[in-house]
């Protein structure tokens, strides 16, 4: 029992550190004025989230989070910022005119979610046995039971990539005209 207690407490310490890292990164990503700094803080938040996944014994999801979010999405955001000159601070301020309303809505959502979690604490499952999941099992599940969603996601990703390229493609006449100017 004592051993169990100590283990839980050690886990909580790491959990608190990771939570502080993640929340601080997310807050900085939302609040900072310079957009490039926001992107850097965003990658910190993504990293913290991936570490939280690892802390939850979800190794595969954690490393997928590392590769997709920290490796791809953060880089994509930086590219978008630099391509759109978004790093220049706008003259009208970085927050919208209705920022107070947005803040109130977000606080309300957090209050409702927190109330729901605290209220249903008794009913939440409390199993603490560490699940032993190998990548082999995940692969078998992906091509077995979840093969249809996998194929649909593959089609979705292909369509999204083609769509993104088409949307962002510059038309030749526009480019030529820009050159003339």
């Amino acid at each position: 029992m004592a051993y169990e207690e100590r283990e839980v407490r050690a886990m909580s310490f790491i959990f608190y550190v990771l939570t502080a890292l993640t929340v601080a990164g997310a807050l900085a990503a939302v609040l900072l004025k310079n957009t490039v700094h926001c992107a850097l803080a965003l990658s910190v938040a993504f990293t913290g989230m991936a570490l939280l996944f690892l802390n939850l014994d979800a190794q595969f999801a954690g490393f997928a989070q590392f590769m997709v979010y920290v490796g791809a999405v953060a880089i994509l955001v930086v590219f978008a910022i630099l391509l759109t000159k978004g790093s220049e601070t706008p003259t009208g301020g970085v927050f919208s005119r209705t920022w107070l309303m947005g803040l109130v809505i977000a606080a309300g959502v957090f209050a409702v979610l927190g109330w729901a979690v605290m209220g249903s604490m008794k009913a939440l499952p409390q199993l603490t046995a560490v699940p032993q999941v190998t990548v082999l099992q995940i692969g078998n599940a992906l091509v077995g039971r979840y093969v249809l969603p996998l194929e649909i996601v593959a089609v979705l990703l292909t369509a999204a990539m083609i769509g993104a390229v088409i949307v962002a493609l510059h038309e030749r006449s526009e480019v030529a005209k820009e050159g003339q100017k």
Binding site: V8, L42, T84
Partner: protein, 187 residues
């Protein structure tokens, strides 16, 4: 407090931070960042329920989170492509430059003049045509003033039409005059 409740509270906090970012920032890229944070919070919920719920060996929550990550990646690619396109059209990523679909009083004369201009421009070159189409869509914003101006440069037979367009875009919105003046200064 149980570990699951801790993780759920962290996820709720992350979701709220992302929601606040999406609702309060003016830059479209930062709105997307807020949406990404919200998706991440949802993933954390899924993983936490998988970890502490019954039957973790069935992998339901984990697989759900993996698919969610894939869909979020697709969403980020398309969203940032749209932002880049928005920057190409409006030369800004400020979401306030993109309020064209917001209801606004536009008189019928405006529509008539724009459609007449489009009809004329079919005889002109393709650049003037595309600009005319754009100015038909983008009524009342700063861009229209600039485009109407470049339209005037395109051909002298547009003079009458351009004068009217200028009048329209100045009337169309308070502050339109400033935008027009800014456009004139730029060129």
């Amino acid at each position: 407090m149980t570990p699951l409740a801790c993780y759920l509270l962290v996820a709720a906090l992350m979701f709220s931070i992302g929601l606040a970012g999406a609702l309060t920032r003016r830059n479209a890229i930062l709105v997307l960042i807020g949406i990404e944070l919200m998706l991440n919070a949802a993933n954390l919920n899924l993983i936490a329920f998988w970890r502490y719920g019954p039957h973790p060996e069935k992998l339901t929550g984990m697989i759900f989170a993996i698919f969610s990550i894939a869909v979020a990646a697709a969403e980020a690619a398309v969203g940032l492509g749209v932002v880049s396109e928005m920057h190409r059209h409006a030369h800004t990523t400020d979401i306030y430059a993109m309020d064209r679909m917001k209801g606004r009083e536009v008189d019928a004369r405006n529509y008539f003049i724009h459609s007449a201009g489009c009809g004329l421009s079919h005889h002109g070159d393709s650049v003037a045509d595309s600009h005319c189409a754009n100015s038909c869509i983008w009524r009342g914003c700063a861009l229209e003033a600039r485009q109407a101006q470049s339209l005037c440069d395109a051909g002298d037979w547009f003079d009458e039409f351009c004068t009217l367009t200028f009048a329209n875009c100045i009337c169309a919105r308070s502050g339109g005059m400033d935008a027009w003046a800014g456009g004139a200064r730029d060129s």
